[in-house]
């Protein structure tokens, strides 16, 4: 019987959590042959991380091939690459962003001064800045609940209030964390579980028995802008 990929990855995740943090290397493989460009991943990310207007951790790039009406489309989902040599972390003047032992590049919202150097330095456009926008404040008679709902990134509750725009993460750089807060509770990242095509794999690249490591070992993989030496932890299956 064909094994369910999500259940397999869930088991892989549990196994990884049993190891010390430094022995994990969270990674992702995205199968471009299976991606239908539905953007469910982008939406799931928005919902999970409560990202405000102007902030997105995930996008799906589209490329049109041929001339209308004889066209086809190709899609490229882009989370943070969680580089092994991230150009964004070393430029931070206050050590607010750094790469964890498990490979996830994180931002300490309580330290970030909002200089946006990391955003300029990211070769993948994977970082956003929180300008303190809200979807419905001043736009609708009643402020929507989702605008005010707390954010639980990094396992810490942060309330969002239009009356006080000087509370982090407003004024900070923001980025994809591979849903670190979910991982640590044994849950897969939101973009993985939501993918309707089953195009995404996630797990510990340091574990040869994990599905993600086996997929990444395929001969048909590529990583974005490898020539920059960033060593992304996100692979694309072609």
């Amino acid at each position: 019987m064909l094994e369910n990929a999500l259940l397999r990855m869930q088991a892989d995740l549990k196994r990884a959590l049993g190891k010390p943090v430094a022995e994990r290397h969270w990674g992702m493989v995205i199968d471009l042959r299976k991606c239908v460009g539905c953007n469910a991943c982008t939406i799931a990310c928005k919902v999970e991380n409560k990202t405000p207007p102007g902030v997105t951790y995930h996008v799906v790039l589209e490329e049109e091939i041929g001339r209308y009406p004889n066209v086809t489309r190709r899609f490229l989902p882009r989370p943070c690459m969680q580089c092994e040599h991230p150009p964004c972390t070393r430029v931070c003047p206050v050590n607010a962003t750094y790469r964890r032992a498990d490979g996830v590049v994180v931002i300490d919202y309580d330290v970030c001064i909002g200089c946006r150097y990391c955003i300029a330095a990211c070769p993948y456009g994977a970082r956003s800045f929180d300008f303190g926008e809200f979807y419905t404040v001043g736009q609708t008679p009643r402020v929507a609940e989702y605008d005010l709902s707390s954010n639980f990134e990094y396992g810490k509750e942060r309330k969002r209030n239009p009356a006080n725009r000087n509370t982090s993460p407003i004024g900070n750089a923001r980025k994809c964390t591979f849903c670190l807060h979910r991982l640590e509770k044994g849950m897969l990242p939101a973009c993985i579980t939501t993918c309707i095509g089953g195009a995404r794999y996630f797990g510990n690249l340091n574990d040869v028995d994990s599905l993600v490591a086996q997929q990444a070992a395929s001969l048909h993989v590529m990583r974005l802008k490898e020539e920059l030496g960033t060593e992304p932890s996100v692979y694309y299956l072609l």
Binding site: L76, V91, V94, I113, G171
Partner: protein, 409 residues
């Protein structure tokens, strides 16, 4: 206070009044009303920041010609140069401060710096430079403070405070003071090269932006700073100093000739960058240049940059400027203003190319605008407010400090 300085003060106050509401918005609402975003993370305020930091480095390095390298010809402009460097530095720091998402956390750069970041380096270097400028300015003017402290009235009290208890105002004391100035100036030269080259390096180390990622970039920064600072100093000597271009004709023309050389070297570097980048087929290299030259903001390159900052002044300085201090002063003023355009084209073309093809069309929300960036009203107001502060600082400092003491003797 002379008429010219009153004019500067009034201009400054008008600018403050115009910008005040924008500044209130900036403080109260944070960066909500700026037009930039993740695709263009650095914009108008960064342009003005590197403009003013360049003016500061440039006028300081010109002052070092006098105090370190012994170009007595420019001596009368020395104090003005140091004072201009100080005001420009403070203005630059205001610009970069308001650009921070969390202004109140700025001191983290001192408390928990990461020295893998050029940004942390330059903040520390700016700080050292600020203290050096203050010390050098004090030793330059100490004798006048000491002398003035014997007088009465408001100025007497102020000079007593500024003299910090020193009273010696003999010629021998001046020799001693000038020795210290020379040492400070000598320390300042590598410091200025480091902090301004470092400001260039903030951009140049960014592997993600091919337009900045060149070894020439920090060098261009330095040359360009020298040219813009030289231009401002020439203009100020001609127009801010009493009887500037009439009585100090030789000084103004001399500075103008120095400016000619600096602009010439700057043009050379610009041409090298442009031709090399434009030749290839790699979009990350040629698109930023193509956008500057032929994009919707072409006039910033051609009119402000090529015309005002470089071309027109070069033409005037090489012809009528050799005889006329007025023409030299005007050319320098136009050049100093035009350099804002050159600074714009240092920052913004860096973001002309999408990091990944198609990313600009992948998402539609506020602050996520790839392509043309147009500063918001609030950004302009805050900029004009900061420039207003600079003008007021200049006018007040100019009227209370003995900046012209040596010019008149």
């Amino acid at each position: 206070m002379s008429k010219r300085i009153i004019l500067v003060l009034i201009l400054g106050l008008v600018a403050l009044a115009f910008g005040a509401s924008g500044m209130v918005d900036r403080i109260g609402m944070g960066l909500l009303h700026v037009a930039y975003g993740a695709p263009v993370p650095w914009a108008l305020w960064v342009v003005f920041y590197i403009y003013f930091i360049g003016l500061s480095a440039g006028s300081f390095l010109v002052s070092s010609l006098i105090y370190v390298f012994g170009f007595k010809r420019f001596e009368a402009a020395g104090r003005l140069a140091i004072f201009t460097a100080l005001v420009s530095l403070l203005t630059a720091l205001i610009f970069i401060w308001v650009d921070l998402g969390r202004m109140e956390r700025v001191f983290s750069v001192y408390l928990r710096p990461s020295f893998t970041s050029p940004l942390a380096w330059i903040v520390w270097l700016y700080t050292a430079y600020l203290f050096l400028l203050l010390a050098e300015a004090w030793f330059l003017m100490r004798r006048d403070f000491a002398r003035g402290s014997k007088g009465g009235g408001l100025q007497g009290t102020l000079y007593r405070l500024l003299a910090l208890g020193t009273q010696e105002d003999s010629a021998a004391a001046r020799v001693g003071d000038m020795k210290v100035v020379r040492v400070l100036g000598a320390i300042g030269v590598p410091l200025a090269i480091a902090f301004h080259g470092g400001t260039g390096a903030v951009f140049a180390v960014t592997v993600a932006r091919a337009y900045w990622y060149t070894g020439l970039f920090p060098i261009m920064f330095l040359v360009s700073a020298l040219a813009s600072g030289g231009a401002l100093l020439t203009a100020l000597t001609a127009f801010a100093v009493r009887n500037g271009y009439t009585k100090h004709k030789d000084l103004v023309i001399g500075l103008g000739q120095l400016l000619t050389l600096l602009i010439f070297v700057d043009v050379l570097m610009e041409i090298a960058e442009i031709l090399v980048s434009l030749y290839g087929t790699a979009p990350a290299h040629f698109i930023p240049i193509q956008e500057q030259l032929f994009g919707p903001n072409w006039y910033i390159f051609w009119i402000l940059g090529v015309g005002f900052a470089l071309g027109l002044p070069l033409l005037v300085l090489a012809t009528v400027g050799r005889k006329s201090a007025l023409a030299t002063g005007l050319a320098a003023l136009v050049s100093a203003i035009g350099f804002v355009g050159i600074r714009w084209n240092i920052v913004l073309p860096g973001f002309a190319v999408e990091e990944l093809p198609g990313i600009g069309k992948s998402f539609f929300e506020p602050h996520w605008v790839y392509g043309l960036y147009v500063p918001s009203l609030m950004e302009w107001q805050v900029s004009i407010f900061a420039v207003g502060l600079a003008l007021v600082m200049f006018a007040i400092g100019y009227s209370i400090l003995p900046l012209e003491a040596e010019v008149q003797t």
